[in-house]
């Protein structure tokens, strides 16, 4: 077993679970605001009001009786994703890339019949995928066209960028790449690869899978050191804007890059995980303290991003 002393961790500014829960989540995220991020439909409506782009919502299925006539609605769209509004951990998300010869074809190539789609919708509405099994609604969104930038970096899924936003300032970011082990999902604990991103430039830092360093994507064998996210400041602006939108002080914004529409907000997380520190090789605490020192003044989203970039750029030069 490999161990590290608490003093060492402290010196590196690593944020632990207890401190995250007490000082960041309990201290900055009022519980009454949680539904805004735990319900994807509410997040979407809110984002629309604040001019934050999200994947296009086609329609919402709210009642079981709507399901019988659902086929007509699907025939008009080429590819789509069905999501439970209150789903968690990527559960219950069904992505259909095309419709041919009376069959819905999943991204993995598996064909599904109309009955399969109907049953899936019925399960979502009954609450099979929602927290604590409460009744839910199903969102049908346009499929995301993956930016060609990520070709060879993902397996049957779309990578997303997680940005930690503290008091409206972006603090740390990573790219989450889907793998065979993660079943096409971008969740680290399920086996997705986390690639730390330089908060100033959007360049790839180091990659981890299951907490262990990796150099190439485990399925495509593509080396991971050349990743460089274009239009980085724009992505940070989008993430930072979620602070005004939700009122939450400590959030993780998940952003995808669409070939045609550019960065889109996929979902928000009021309890973002700690693994991002390992992909960045740096503790969150030091950065959070620095932000705390400069926060307080009223600034616009763009000003905050510029301010944070400035702060972290100076750090990188001095070290």
């Amino acid at each position: 077993m490999n161990w590290v002393s608490p003093a060492r961790l402290n010196a590196m500014g690593i944020l632990g679970m207890n401190r995250r829960n007490i000082q960041l989540i309990a201290g900055h995220n009022p519980r009454r605001l949680y539904p805004l991020v735990d319900n994807k439909l509410k997040t979407k409506q809110l984002a629309a009001a604040f001019g934050i782009p999200t994947p296009t919502l086609r329609f919402v299925v709210t009642a079981q009786h709507e399901i019988r006539e659902i086929r007509k609605k699907f025939e008009k769209i080429e590819g789509f994703a069905i999501k439970p509004a209150k789903g968690f951990g990527g559960k219950g998300i069904l992505v259909i890339s095309s419709f041919r010869e009376n069959a819905f074809i999943k991204t993995s190539g598996v064909k599904l019949g109309e009955k399969d789609i109907q049953r899936h919708l019925s399960n979502i509405i009954a609450g099979l995928y929602s927290l604590a099994g409460t009744p839910d609604v199903a969102l049908v969104e346009d499929i995301i066209q993956m930016d060609p930038l990520f070709n060879g970096y993902s397996y049957q899924g779309i990578p997303d960028i997680r940005v930690i936003v503290f008091k409206g300032y972006p603090v740390m970011a990573m790219l989450r790449l889907t793998t065979k082990a993660s079943d096409g999902k971008a969740n680290l604990h399920q086996g997705a690869v986390g690639l730390g991103l330089d908060i100033v430039t959007g360049k790839g830092l180091r990659a981890l899978q299951f907490g262990r360093p990796v150099l190439v994507h485990p399925d495509t064998r593509n080396p991971l050191d050349g990743v460089n996210i274009p239009d980085w400041e724009n992505i940070l602006n989008l993430a930072a804007g979620c602070h005004e939108m939700t009122g939450l002080g400590y959030i993780g914004a998940d952003i995808v890059l669409d070939k045609d529409r550019g960065p889109l907000l996929l979902e928000l997380n009021a309890r973002p995980g700690l693994a991002i520190q390992m992909t960045n090789g740096e503790g969150l605490l030091i950065r959070l303290r620095k932000i705390e020192a400069i926060a307080g003044k009223m600034r616009s989203t763009r000003e905050r991003v510029a301010c944070a970039l400035d702060l972290f750029r100076r750090d990188q030069k001095s070290s």
Binding site: L9, N10, G16
Partner: protein
Amino acid sequence: MQTDIPRVKLYWIVLILILSGLSLTWLRHTHMQIPLKPGKDTIVWLVEARVDFTAYQRPVLASLSIPNNPPGFKIFNEQAASPGYGFSIVENKESRRAEWSRRTAAGPQTLYYKIQITPQAENKAPPADPPSPLAPVYWEAPEAIAARTILDAAISTSSTPESLSRELIKALNAEQKEQNAALLLARRSPEDLLTRLLAQAGIPARTVQGLFLEAKRRNQNLIPMVEVFNGKEWVLFHPETGVQGVPENFLLWDRSGPSLLDLVGGSAGRVSFSMLSQRIPALEMARIQSSNKAFSFLSMYHLPIEQQGVFRLILLIPIGVLVVAFMRIIIGVRTSGTFMPVLIGMAFLQTSLAPGLFYFIIIVAAGLLLRGYLSHLNLLLVARISTIIIIVISLITLSSLTAIRLGFHTGIPVTAFPIIIIAWTIERMSILWEEDGMREVMIQGTGSLAAALLAYFFMGRPLIAHLSFNFPELNLVIAAVILLIGQYTGYRLFELHRFAAMKDTNV
């Protein structure tokens, strides 16, 4: 990031809780001589008779036969708890009776009579109060001949009252019953028949009743025995096994004969017994019981025994909760279901460790397999949990029956397992399996079991069991410690391993 303002308030609360908990403990220790350590010597049996009956708006008099200097034991305290009733103990030459009276009462009534006794080997022989003169024995026509035949056979093979009794018991309990014995037993109970036969032979005998003392028994009934007068003293016989003398841990409750409970002004009277063994020095116990000082309010011994037994377990929960809080917040162990480990640990306390562990693993593993099949059926959550609850109940029933069939663990209370909690555990584990794979299930399963074992270990310590029950105010201290743990913002032990990979990045 700092949330320091409410923290000062919290430290005050913690301080007040700790001070009040400890000072109450100290006061009760010094004023009431409640020992801080469990006594290692005397066993004290608390035996409680509970009388239930229905009263109908008339003056009530309930008279219960109670032990009178029972052989093998010493009574050092007796009490009656029955609000609204006048209580007295009526003694005469042959019997002692507890009498409750009330001007008027209606509806179901419950009266309690409690004694505390300690085993005392010197007090072995039942006192030789002389028998009352024998009344002639009357039999019905067919019985008379059968009785005569059995008695003649027994007399011919015996010489003393004791040997005659033994021969009679043998004849009445033979595996292949003789026709005469079968005829008599069809109409009368063995103990009644035995006394009548002995009386016919001119030997005074009487039916008595008593209790086998076993830890934590509830709803027990008296067991009939037969006492035979051998000319000098009374000798006790078990009417079925023929064993002579007072068995170990047998409390002779009623020797007076006529009836256990006499009831005037009520009906449907029923007497049931519960008992509890304690390891507190008899002397201290007596003091606790008799003291009427201010601090005795907190003494759990004021409660009826049945409730005392329950509270012994309930008052252990804070320790278990503390263990779980420590394991999760300081160590960083992941458990499935926050407080499931405490309840499992308590179940282990009741089943004892090895069989409890065995049953628990079997039930959860089998439940997981069946739950795996359920997920193909696409059920709604409530229906699924309900099905799992029924599965768990069936598994528990099945394993109990199997254990009995195989002839071991006859006394294991598998019912101690919290059924609903186990059902939820299975459901969560199963979802975890589908979503995050086998590895996560093993991690959380091992974590839960480790926490349960640690909780079991602490809750099973005699010192902790003693303190938690005798000083319930110590819960304030535990609450304070938990409040402090809740403020801990440092690293969890397992995080020191999780973030170990960070070492090779240069700071």
